[in-house]
């Protein structure tokens, strides 16, 4: 099974190389190759997750290794869905780099299937983690676009204003997607906590940081829809929001203890 994991990582790295070559050479063949490899990588990961699910007899979303695999998968899938609608040339390279990095980091953790502690033995595990990571995936893509926007918005940049408009619009939509799924993730987590411990909210560090992240993106959406915030301001909030996502995901696991300590 680990071979499939490594193959997925290798294919994402191949997609990254092709996407970079495309950016440098503008040869369409490399763009096609990069997207085919991204699709192949996502497919390999889907099979890997499926096999692991079958072997473990439960959703493989219970520790750092498994969640990083899911994170890489969600970013790749969200990018591929976006690619069907918009062609943002450098986004393929950024998404491939992100997924490769996530998988490479995952490989530093114990990959053996471990038995679940009683609190995690629930169907809510699947819904809660899946929805959270789809949300995180949306925010990660929005973060990549936000950085791309800031780079393209420099005075020296040759990027057309229309392209920046597209970037801004896609960033807003991926944040909306992420917000919808993060909300669903927080709510399913609350329902799960209530069935496990009799309290839907206990101000656990992970819960609290999820709420902080939710607030940041809620502020983004309000500013955008009610004050028309676009461009650089929106890009900076997208970046700040994703830093909060990263702290919620990594920082809380390693720096703060709480109900989610098993995730570290």
């Amino acid at each position: 099974m680990i071979n499939l994991f490594n193959a997925g990582l290798a294919v994402y790295l191949g997609a990254l190389v092709c996407a970079v070559v495309y950016l440098m050479s503008s040869r369409r063949l490399f763009d096609i190759l990069a997207n085919i490899l991204m699709g192949a990588g996502a497919l390999m990961q889907t099979i890997y997750i499926g096999i692991r699910w079958s072997e473990a007899g439960r959703a493989p979303f219970s520790n750092m290794f498994e969640s990083l695999v899911l994170f890489a998968w969600s970013v790749a899938v969200i990018y591929l869905v976006l690619r069907l609608q918009r062609n943002i040339p450098w986004l393929g390279a950024a998404a491939a780099a992100f997924s490769s990095l996530a998988l490479a980091h995952a490989s530093t953790y114990e990959s053996a299937i471990k038995p679940l502690m009683p609190a995690l033995q629930s169907n809510w595990l699947t819904f809660h983690v899946m929805t959270c990571f789809l949300g995180y995936g949306g925010f990660a893509v929005a973060f990549l676009i936000g950085i791309g926007f800031l780079v393209s918005d420099r005075e020296a940049s040759s990027v057309k204003p229309e392209t920046r408009e597209v970037l801004d619009s896609v960033m807003s939509r991926t944040i909306s997607f992420g917000f919808l799924f993060l909300t669903l993730g927080i709510l399913t987590g609350a329902v799960w906590a209530n069935s496990a411990w009799g309290t839907y909210w206990s101000w656990d560090p992970k819960e609290t940081w999820s709420l902080i992240t939710w607030f940041i993106y809620a502020i983004f959406l309000h500013c955008r829809f009610m004050r028309g915030w676009k461009g650089r301001k929106a890009a900076w909030i997208a970046i700040a929001g994703f830093l909060s996502v990263l702290f919620t995901y990594f920082g809380v696991n390693f720096l703060l203890s709480g109900l989610h300590s098993y995730a570290s």
Binding site: P118, L187, W197, G198, L211
Partner: protein, 414 residues
Amino acid sequence: MSEQNQAETPDTIEVGPSAWIIIQSWLGSLKFSLSVVLLIALACIAGTVIPQGEQVSRFLMKNPGPHKGLEFMTSVGLTNVFYSWWFAALLGVFSLSLMVCTLRRYRMIGRSTGAVRVRVIGSFITHISLLLVLGGGVIRVLWGEKGVLQLSEGETATACESQTGAPMPLSFVVRLVKFDLELYKTQDPPSGDEQDVLYVQWPEKNLLVPIALEETNTPVVVAPGMQAGPDSTFRVKVERYLPDFYLDAASGEAQSRSTMPNNPAVYVSVTGAGVTNSEWVFARFPDFTRHDESGKKMRMPLQFRFVSGGVQSMMGRSQGPVKAFKSTVEFLENGQVMLAKTIAVNSPVTFRGYTFYQLSYNPEDLRWTSLQVVRDPGVPVVYAGFLLMMAGLTVVFCVGPYLDDKKKGSGTAI
């Protein structure tokens, strides 16, 4: 109030309504609402990075002495952020602001059309849902109950201990019938099987006979090279088996704490060579030797060693994590069992409005359980809020953009 009236009574006009309008416009302004959200977010950050509640007590126990910074933070509620008066006040102001914003959106519904109207409806539903969630929280604080119930097997209780330490009476009786702990099997048992074996040793004759426990009704031990006779045959019988041996202090009777092989013991009687004897043999304590009343070691040529498959298995699994812990309880009213259920983590049981959750157990005493008892009338309100929130956000982020794109003809809704 009309302009004419204002002119006639200049000292009393406008104060009430205009003040309300000002407060309303202030509370409902985006700047104010988002500022409150930002303050709550900052308070949340403080609540996660500054030690809270018990963490502070533990820190002070480890590091006694004056801690001026900590004392200051405690005095302003920073070491108990989420239960401080000012955090509750922030949530209160947030709720007020939310109410005004919700009212504004309600008014906007009538003034908008098409996809915008759909988005406004979605936004209105989302804001209502947030109010429901906050309202459910208020109901919990005002009318909810929460306590902990600790029981040993066979014990009953009519009250549990609330969070403040005060007794929380229940209108029924709860009895713990049984507590079960299951462990994951992470390693194979060392012997390859999990059989209980009684080894009968006759050191003087260099004899060792293994006997499977279930076959020890009337075995006969004969030393090699000897004729079976009164000095060489023994009848060994296992009279009792207790997986988790303990001596009841009150009755002096040997009993089992649980069905888990935590301290397996067999009561062996042996007859032969003109002697009849009985003794307890412990799997975990093979060197345990009973002495007779004179303090001398009992005279018996045979010695026993009990190897418990359960213990072997447990030792193999000793590093294995807990798979499940369950409490089988009965709820009684007027001496009648009204409900008998097993409570496990993620599988609570509700009786007469109280929900019982499996909280913890005592690894040193596996007859003991700890249950969380919760009565929270706010949960249905909160869950209604959750459903409405997802409905509202789906309308805002899916239906609205879909209608926009349909109008434009591009069909690229995310």
